[in-house]
Structure formats: C-alpha cells, structure tokens
C-alpha cells in the first residue's frame, strides 16, 4: 500500500494535443518526450537512435516546430501540440504526399531514420513550399541516414513538394542500362 502511494506521487500527469487529438498521460517525471511517446503511449513510430540529440531519428513536431524528442522532457509537452509520424496521415487514412513519395521512391531503406526525416521535411515544406536542393540538405542535416546516401530523400521531398503545390512532376529514372541503351 505504502509503495503504491509513493509511485502515484512520482507520476507526472499532463494533457496535450497529440496528432490532433486531446491526450492525457501519466509518466515518471524524468522521462523524455521520446520515452513518453514510445513507452507510455506505445507510439513507437518515433525512433531512438542515440538519445543524445545527435541522430534525428526521434524528431517530432512540437507546436509545428521540429524538436529532438530525446532532448525534450515529457513535462514540456503540457498544453502543447505534438505531431508524430503516426499523425501525418491525411483524413480517411490517405498518406501524406511526403509519405507517399518516400515509400514510392525508396527513400526509406531500413526505414529507421524515416519518421525523423518525414517530420523535419514536413516542417520545411510548411515554411518553404519550393525549397532548393541545398535548402533541403541544410534542413535535413540534423537527421542521419546510414543507408540511402540522402539523394533519394531529396528527390522524395522535391516530388512531394511539387505534389503539394499541385504540380505534376516525375523523378528521372535512375539506372540507365549501359550496354542496352
């Protein structure tokens, strides 16, 4: 009995908006937003790659701005809006254009870095609907990917941006067959 009371005292309790819906959650107050999302809310789409702010796999949007959720306390989300990869889909479960192009172009290889890239790119396109390749590379420079070499990620962001601007766009074919062409 005594111990249980102690545990209750140790839990923090916050209310915030998670992926567009009101949400309440109780957790040990030392926990980072990343841990609260993954362990207490079971939203494991947000990944942990270092928990030191070095890799970007844990990126989420806090009031629309990308943050590294491993460096934010869960308590700091109180009353604010959090968007994770699970909240990117459009109404009726349609994929967001970024999700669509990342999937179609193979910008996700092992996919472990993908949620972080998606949310960082989401914010980039919100403030800059037509970024140059350099602007994309700059914006994504806090997200590490060990698989892709980034080029496909740029192409996916560019294509999604074009789709979001209502333009038709295609990405150039990539493997040119040597002896046959």
């Amino acid at each position: 009995m005594k111990q249980r009371r102690k545990i209750r005292k140790q839990k923090a309790h916050i209310a915030f908006v998670l992926n567009g819906e009101p949400c309440e959650v109780a957790f040990a107050p030392h926990k980072t937003l990343l841990e609260v999302l993954r362990e207490d809310l079971n939203l494991t789409g947000t990944k942990h790659g270092c928990e030191l702010g070095e890799c970007g796999t844990c990126a989420v949007l806090l009031d629309g701005k990308p943050v590294l959720s491993c460096l934010v306390l869960g308590l700091d989300a109180e009353g604010r809006e959090v968007t994770t990869v699970e909240g990117m889909q459009l109404p009726e479960g349609r994929l967001h254009p970024l999700q669509e192009t990342f999937a179609d172009l193979g910008a996700a290889q092992c996919g472990y870095c993908t949620p972080g890239f998606l949310l960082t790119a989401l914010e980039l396109l919100a403030k800059n609907p037509k970024p140059t390749r350099e602007e994309i590379a700059q914006a994504l420079s806090g997200n590490l990917c060990r698989c892709t070499g980034y080029i496909k990620i740029y192409e996916a962001v560019e294509l999604a941006a074009a789709h979001m601007r209502g333009e038709k766009a295609e990405v150039a074919e990539e493997v040119v067959y040597g002896l046959k062409s």
């Binding site: 889909q89 996700a108 996919g111 590379a137 070499g149 080029i151 493997v175 067959y177």
Partner: protein
Amino acid sequence: MIDDEKTQKPIPPGQDQEYEESEVNIEGRRVTVRTRKVPPLPDWTKTEIVGQPVPRVDGVDKVTGRAKYTSDVQLPHMLYAIAVRSELPHARIKNISIEKALAHPGVHAVLLPKDVERYIMGNPFAGTLPLLTLEPKYTGEEIAVVAAETELQAEDAARLIQVDYEPLPFVLDPEVSMTDKSPVKFFPEGNFTGGGFGQRKIGQPSVHTRGDLDVGFKEADHIFEETFRTEPQQHACMEVHGTTASWDGDHLTVWESTQGVFGVQEEISRVFTLPMNDVRVIGTHMGGGFGSKGGAGKQTMLAVLMARRTGRPVKMVLSRHEDFMGVYRPASIQHYKVGVKNDGRLTAIEMKSVNAVGAYMSGSMWGNSSPMTQQMYACANVRTEDRAVFTNTPPPGAMRGPSNVQNAWGLEQLMDLIAHKLNMDPIELRMRNDVKVDQVTHQPYHSKGLAECFKLGAEKFHWDEKRLRRNDPASTKKYGVGMASQIWGGGGGPPATAIVKINQDGSINLLTGAADIGTGTRTVMSQICAEELGVAVDRIHVTNADTETTPYTLPSYGSITLASSGPAVRSAANDAKRQLLDLAAGSLGVKPEELSSKDGFIFVTAQPDKRMKFEAAAGAMPERTLVGRGYRGPNPKGQSLNAFGAQFCEVEIDIHSGEVKVLKFVAAHDSGRVINPHTFASQVKGGITMGTGYALSERRLIDKNTGVPVTASLLEYRPPTSLDAPVDIEVYSVDVPYTANNIGAKGVGEPPLIATAPAIANAVYHATGVRVKSNPITPEKIIDGLKSLGGRT
C-alpha cells in the same frame, strides 16, 4: 552459419543422387556445402515484373511508423537489462559488490561472470567469447548485467554496482603489440595469428604465395614500395544492437535486430542446449546491419538468461555509446612491394599486412587485407602475409566488404600511383593486368563485366576529357578526378529454402527466411515470385526472417541474399505454379505443358484467349491451399562467381582550408541482372556515401594513455550527414548476362563501398599532387601534403 564441421556431415544413404556439392563464397570465405539438386528452370528472357522499379512492398509500413523494429517491442511486465562494462582496457577484477544495486527500487536481478561462465559464445574455429568476464581485455567489455523495471532504474543500479579493478598493462598499437616491447602477452606463442578464414596458427601470418618473387622483381623495370594505412570503421547502424527475449514456459521468443535469424537461433540453441523448435527468432524489420548483425550478440544471450532468471520478458538494447564500443572494421597497415614492366604488366607483388583485431581470437577472422591483392590482377609472382595482431580493443567483425575495403584503399591507390609514374591511363593499366581466370583458385569467372564497367563508366563520366583538364594555377580551388575498381563475391548459394502458398482466393503467401536489412529483400523476392507465377506483386504477401514460420536460408551477409534466396523463391513459385497448372489443365481440357500463366490469367500458350483467371484456378483447388517448395540449387562447378565494378569521382579541394568536396560519382557495376533498379541504385548510392565517410570523415580514436574510446558518439565519429555526402551519384549496371543461378543476379550490397575511398584519394592526388596514404583524408593532411610539395600546384 555454415561451419566446417557441418559441411562434413555424411549424406543419408540412398540419397546421394539427389544431392551434390556446391561451393559458396561468403565474405571471401569459400565453403563447400552439400545441397539438393534442383531441376533447372529456363533463363528468363523477357520479364515483366523483374527489372521494374517496383516500389518497396513495405514502404508504407515504414513511412507510417507501423514497421516494428526490435527496439520497438514492448511487452507487458518487461524488464530492461543493462551491462556493467569495464572502465579499463585491461584489468583483473578483484571484487564486484552488488548489494546496493539489488536493493535499488525496481531491480530484479544481477548476473555476474560466475553465473554465466558455462555459456560460451562462438566456436573453436571462429574463437570464443565469454559473456561476462573477470579479466576485461578492452574498455567496454561486459562484466555484469542488471535488470530492472525501468531503464532509468537499471542505469542507476548499474552505476551502484561497485567493481574493484586491479589495472593491468595494455597495448593498443598493433605495431607495438607484435614486438618484444609489448607490455601484454596474449598467448605464449605470440601476439598475432594469421588473419582471415584459413587455418590460423598463433605466431604465424596467413600466407598466400604463388610463383617466385625474386624472379618477378628481376623481370621488373620499376619497383614500387609503399605503405598504406586504414583506420577502423564503425557500422553506426541507425538502430543499435538489441534483443528482446520472452519465455513462455520452455518456448523462447527472441526479437533480434539481425541479418540472420537462423544463425541467432542456432547459437542460442547450442549455447543453452535448447531444441531449435523452442527457439523462435524474429527479425522482420531491422534498422541496418552492414555486417555488424551477422549473428547473435552477447546481449542476445544475456537477455535470454536474464529473462529465464527473472521470469519476465527482458529487453536489452545497447546505448549509442555502447554501440561504439562494439564491433567495427579493423584497422590495417599495408606494406606493398610491386614490380612492374614498362608496359604496365605486374611482375611481382609482395604484400604484408598488419591488422589490429582486438583481444580475442574471434577478431582474427577479419584480420586480413589482402584478398584483392591476390585476386584482382594478373601476376605470376605473388606473396601476401596477413598478421592479425591482438590489441586491447573490442573484437572487430565483418563490415560491408570486409578485407576488400581495406585492401582497395592501398591496392587501388598503388595502381593509380603506378599509372601516373608510367604516364598511363589508370584504366589502361588495369586492363593490361586484367584476368579472366581467378588467380587464386585457377577457375574461370562465370562472368566478368569489369571491362564493360570501365568502358561505360568512363564514357558517362567523360573520363578522357576530365582527366586531361588542367587546374587554373591562380585559383585556390583545385579539381581532380580519380577512379578505382573492385571485386567481390556475391554469387550466393545453398542452402536456402522458400515456400509459396496459393490460397483458394488466388492470393499468395511467400515465406522466406531471408532478412531485409534495408536492402529491399522483401520487395525483390515478391517480384521474383510474381514473375514466375504470372501475377501482380500486390497479390503476394511476404513473411520473412522468422524461424518459426519461414524456412532456413543463409544470413544476409556477403552480398549473398538475393543470389541465395532469390533462386529458391523462383523454384518455390515454379513448384506452386506447376501444381496449379495441373489443376487448370483439367478445367481447360488441355495438357499442363500447354499452359502458361501471366497477367493474372492461366491460358493455353498457343491460344491465349482460351484462358481462366488465376483465382478461378485457385478456387477449384480441392485442398484449398497449395504449397510450393523451392530449394537453392548448387552453383556451377569449377567457376568463380564474383561481382565487379568501377567508380569514377570528381573532387573539389580548397587549398587554403584543405577541405575536400565530392562533386560527382559515376558507378558502373556488374552484378548480373538487376531485379529492381530502385533497390539496386539504393545500394550503390548508400555504399558510395559510406565509402565517402571512410575516405573523408569517419574515425574511431582510442585515447593512447587510457585506452578509452574518445569518438564514441555520432557527433565525434562523424558518419556523413546530408551536407557531407556526394550530391550527385550516377548509377549504371552493365547488364552482362549471368546464368549461374535461375534468376541471373549476383549481389550488390557490398561492392559499391569497395572502390569509393581509393577513387576519392586518387582524385585528391589528381587535383593537388598530394597522395594521402592513410584515411581519413583530413584537411590537415592535405595542407601538410601541399606544404611538403612546396606549393608546387
């Protein structure tokens, strides 16, 4: 894992005719396995689905966060386990006090070396590793492990465990360790052994020798003596190593971020003497491996033991810091002496390599850097010696293109150096020493498209023109181009089994044991299955890398996944198709041989309008489910199966800052048939980026005075970010026909990384005249090099 013992198993009597021997080359190690003969299938001439840029079948799972990785597994009442690791590079532990840790809230158990000493990982051939030790031999070696209800409790408890060390002398530098001056004696016979997969003997290098060096050097018009060095490279997978283990009675389930669930299952079953059917290993989604996750890790065994001890599921995922104290590509020092004729022909190559392989025997398998020297070029007189030298550093392991990546750094720069000296095009020099026959095994290559790679790559890169371009002497920006070539295995082989189930509605389940480590395995296997069955890819659901539901296949290493499991998948699909055609033949009133299956229809080949829907044929199956089995057949006898490639790059160097920018890469690869241009190009682009890190930024440093790693974070280790990676990479396949397996493909996972770093180094030389012989090519090395040239550029 294939080990030597297993390959010796006698064949069951009466089955001899059904089996034959086949050679398989895995990470440079050739093994002979007995394998089922498989009826040959005709080569695909025209394909509809294979060869298309089909989007990844699991793309949507990955972009929605639905894909569950090992580190995402959350089970009710799960505990978190954390290791207590040695703070010293070498010590004897006098005492471990755990009372405070045990009293800490939430703590369930602590395991000490004595609790686990009867469980030994590895085998006598590969070398064994203790799970926990009282005599740590490197900083970060596991001493104890603690499990608690939360991660924080476990971390705190680990800190409360007091370890009393008696520091022992240590050695980090392999060149010191090899000498009498070494403060540490690892074995009475010496501090080194042979490197690589052959028989290794302590105190002796592993040696390859052919011809007569003296004769070769006498014939030479020029003799080159050079030393190259490579630093260790860390895999730095975005998902760190991790395991979650859960017991249900005597049935164990393990989620493991691994390249091969069956190897993990075998190892667990052997270490704990468990029947294999009670060990289920699941590794469906995993966040990158690059060689580091080829088998079970210590955390696998510790999580299993801890789960047994506590009766609760246990998750043991390493921290990023711990990951940097684990497996890596070993460092090498490569001494070359090469004899060359005026016309560029090599007359003799002598190479001695020193490779730092950590404190345990297991590391010595990866302690060689001479396979390319032995194989790449025509040369009658060759001697290589590889020394795997013990040091107080963590055990290295396989990393993407093991040995060849280190070797290429030296060899491919050396070829460039020779070409410059002889005033010859580096491509021409390589072509003059080209071979059609494997120089080590004397077997012909089944196919070799290297000349095609040179030709196509040079053309697309505009090599001839760019190579002759001169820099503006007044400009502080210098431009240069360089190229390098590579060889790798990638032919794959048995054993691999696949199962294709056709359901009564015509939907299909494909079961393959192969891991998808980000390479696109699930996608290309679906394409192969769809092509053979004549249905669309979206009709297929693929289940992979689960020892309980999918059949055995070799792990995803050595670039063998596609060429091992792909042919088994095609065979299984063919087996299922034949059964379905048998049934359909009855309904259509023809013989099964007269039927084809394509575009979702089964039809009379000579009369395509006489047809029925695929699902209609499936709906008529009396059994409601039809099961096709497929096995990977043997490789052709007496041939070497290798993938080749050539890469060209252009760099820009600021001679004031010494900064190198990679402007462009053109990569031409010979990997046989491309099953999916997207996944093919992804491998090449990702490999080149990793190679760029190896060339320019990645560096694992250990403090010489304390033996503690000082670059144990992503920030300090510096894998390429979006601002460091090459911005422009063109990828080509030379499409040289390959018929050694029924899908016509060889691997492309590792090849792209092998030629990258030397191509960059050669371009740096071309731009500045500075030959950087040790990686990474830092701005300081360039500035120093320019200084010693006396501002010649």
